[in-house]
């Protein structure tokens, strides 16, 4: 049920999968050696495009298409690897960085070769010093061995890689905010277009890809894009490392092929619900994703498109499971509080809206909820993301604000009676609220 592309080495060699010696011993950097000798940069790009791999950071954007947006003639170009992993529920990049940093590094070198990039940055969240240390040691080893620096393996190709630590801001996972941060500015998202591929770091063409996405590149180049594309459904190709957390018997990171059902993922891969309690709901793709419930979604397949069709997203692949004992207002409050804390403050609907939502949920939790709060929650959400549709309508520069409405709308959609029961006094309808 689980698969083994990205996690093979760390599972077979738990004591030293992060070292250069073990990486080389298990076939590492052989792909790079071959590629630099016998493939052109365009041929590498062709394989990545053929793999149909879609970004593993959250937006599921096709990586090859993103690479194709680079204007042909502008130099320098930069490659920035996004290791700011901060979406609640997500801890896969942390594992890939700590346990197999050379796999990522080989992916970076291959990608940089394909993209004609000579300086790459890896942005790692500040709370991840250990993953950063492990990657830095791998980089040091790689320089020593001639896999990085000038004239790599005698090929004439040069590349430097720099690790940059964040300092505690979720928003820097958004690619334009990340670039602002890497430039030494506040981590505020920028309007798109221009997209980073055209105008990114220091206004130069820049590709920003997630740690997991780039970690797949060595396998794709070694085995061919077509072979990768053949794994799983056409539009959800390859494997994905899913982070399972919450009320599960076996939470953890698991590498799975799309098409598995939620029932299989939760009850077999994740070992089922803690103490054999009933499943109440789960977040299918990180805190920003609308919730799923067993009555509607348990036997549906885990693919990018199936999840999207049902009004949610696979996002960063973080599955947060809530059992029957969960207070849905408590859970929604905790999720909204996160967005409220992490709002960068540029856009009014997000800055004010997330704060309002957090306060309303908190007063309901504390027993001071007002009957009109039910309507107010939806009204404020509607002001952040008009129509409360999926994908969410935007009133803001980036999707953080609209994401904050996902838990609120999910809670109201599936568990309205539970919310009402927490509010003293007779519940009234939204229509009554709007009539004043």
């Amino acid at each position: 049920m689980t698969s083994n592309i990205l996690l093979a080495r760390m599972e077979a060699h738990p004591s030293d999968s992060n070292t250069l010696a073990r990486y080389v011993d298990t076939g590492g950097y052989a792909t790079l050696r071959k590629t630099l000798k016998s493939m052109t940069p365009d041929e590498v790009t062709t394989e990545v495009k053929a793999s149909n791999i879609r970004g593993r950071g959250g937006a599921s954007f096709p990586t090859g298409v993103k690479w194709g947006f680079l204007p042909p003639d502008t130099r320098p170009r930069y490659l920035v690897v996004n290791g700011d992993e901060s979406e609640p529920g997500t801890f896969k990049d942390r594992m890939l960085l700590e346990r197999d940093p050379h796999q990522l590094l080989e992916g970076i070198i291959l990608s940089a070769y394909a993209l004609d990039v000579h300086e790459a940055f890896v942005y790692i969240r500040g709370e991840y010093p250990k993953p950063a240390r492990r990657l830095q040691r791998a980089i040091d080893e790689a320089y020593e061995a001639g896999y990085l620096g000038g004239n790599i393996l005698g090929s004439g190709f040069d590349l430097d890689v720099v690790v940059h630590l964040g300092a505690g801001a979720y928003i820097c996972g958004e690619e334009t905010a990340l670039l602002s941060s890497l430039e030494g500015r506040r981590g505020e998202p920028r309007l798109k277009p221009p997209f980073p591929a055209v105008e990114g770091l220091y206004s130069k063409p820049t590709i920003v890809n997630n740690v997991e996405t780039i970690s797949n590149v060595p396998w794709i180049v070694e085995n061919g894009g077509a072979k990768y594309a053949a794994i799983g459904p056409e539009t959800s190709s390859g494997t994905r490392v899913m982070s399972l957390s919450g009320h599960l018997k076996k939470p953890g990171d698991y590498e799975v092929v799309a098409g598995i059902t939620w029932r299989e993922l939760i009850y077999e891969v994740g070992g089922g619900i803690l103490d054999d309690r009933e499943l109440k709901a789960w977040v299918p793709g990180g805190a920003s994703a609308p919730w799923f419930v067993p009555s509607e979604h348990l036997d549906t397949p885990v693919t990018i498109d199936d999840i999207a069709k049902q009004g949610s997203m696979i996002g960063s692949g973080a599955v947060i499971v809530m059992d029957e004992s969960t207070n849905v207002v408590g859970a929604a409050h905790r999720l909204v509080r996160f967005f409220s804390h992490e709002s960068c403050g540029q856009c009014t609907p997000c800055r004010e809206g997330t704060t309002w939502l957090e306060r309303i949920l908190l007063r309901i939790l504390d027993g001071y909820g007002r009957p009109e709060d039910l309507g107010l929650l939806l009204d404020v959400s509607d002001n952040i993301s008009p129509g409360l549709t999926w994908p969410p309508a935007m009133t803001t520069i980036c999707p953080l604000g609209p994401s904050s409405t996902a838990p609120v709308v999910s809670m109201m959609k599936y568990f309205r009676d539970e919310v009402e029961a927490m509010i003293p006094g007779a519940p009234i309808t939204i229509e009554e609220v709007s009539r004043g």
Partner: protein
Amino acid sequence: MISHWSTENQERASELLEQYPEKRSAVMPLLYIAALEHGHVTDDAMREVAELTGLTSAQVQAVASFYTMYKREPVGRYLVSVCTSISCYLRGADAVLEAIEDETGVLDGETTPDGMISVEHVECSGACGGAPAVSVNWELIEGLEPDKARDLIKWLRDAEPSVIFGDEMQMLFGGNPSFDWGPKETEGAIAALPAFAPYGTVGGER
């Protein structure tokens, strides 16, 4: 160059300034080094970083104030950060925070009067599979139950470790981790800053 920084940190600063195409990009790492020199990000520290990067103090202050890990007030020798985001919340993080507040005698956001321990809640630590999670000076402990959290605080007070090692704390107080941690780390944190060799914020194996 700032004369009163340690020679080592001055060298680090020069290296950092050179490794980016534009000097301004070094603001974030330099703020970590400045915090190490001053104990936290003081006004002087921000002025120094401004001088090094060619920015104004206001520009550096704008950056420093955006990110939660740049502490602009003094913090304790040990910064105990309790993750209370959704996955940790579902697995009892609030009880862990309460136990730590009770054991230290200070509330979320405060520092003990002796300057030993600061307590804070943080948003998602990326340890969701090993919830509830706590870090000390950004070195992680996963699966930390309330009783063990109390033991952790007592240990910090009694042992007064000069370098904080995640592996050591995980062994003494932790539970199930998000994943197999693999080999033991030889480097740990020497201050309430992320321990990263290029920033000079690590201590070695003891």
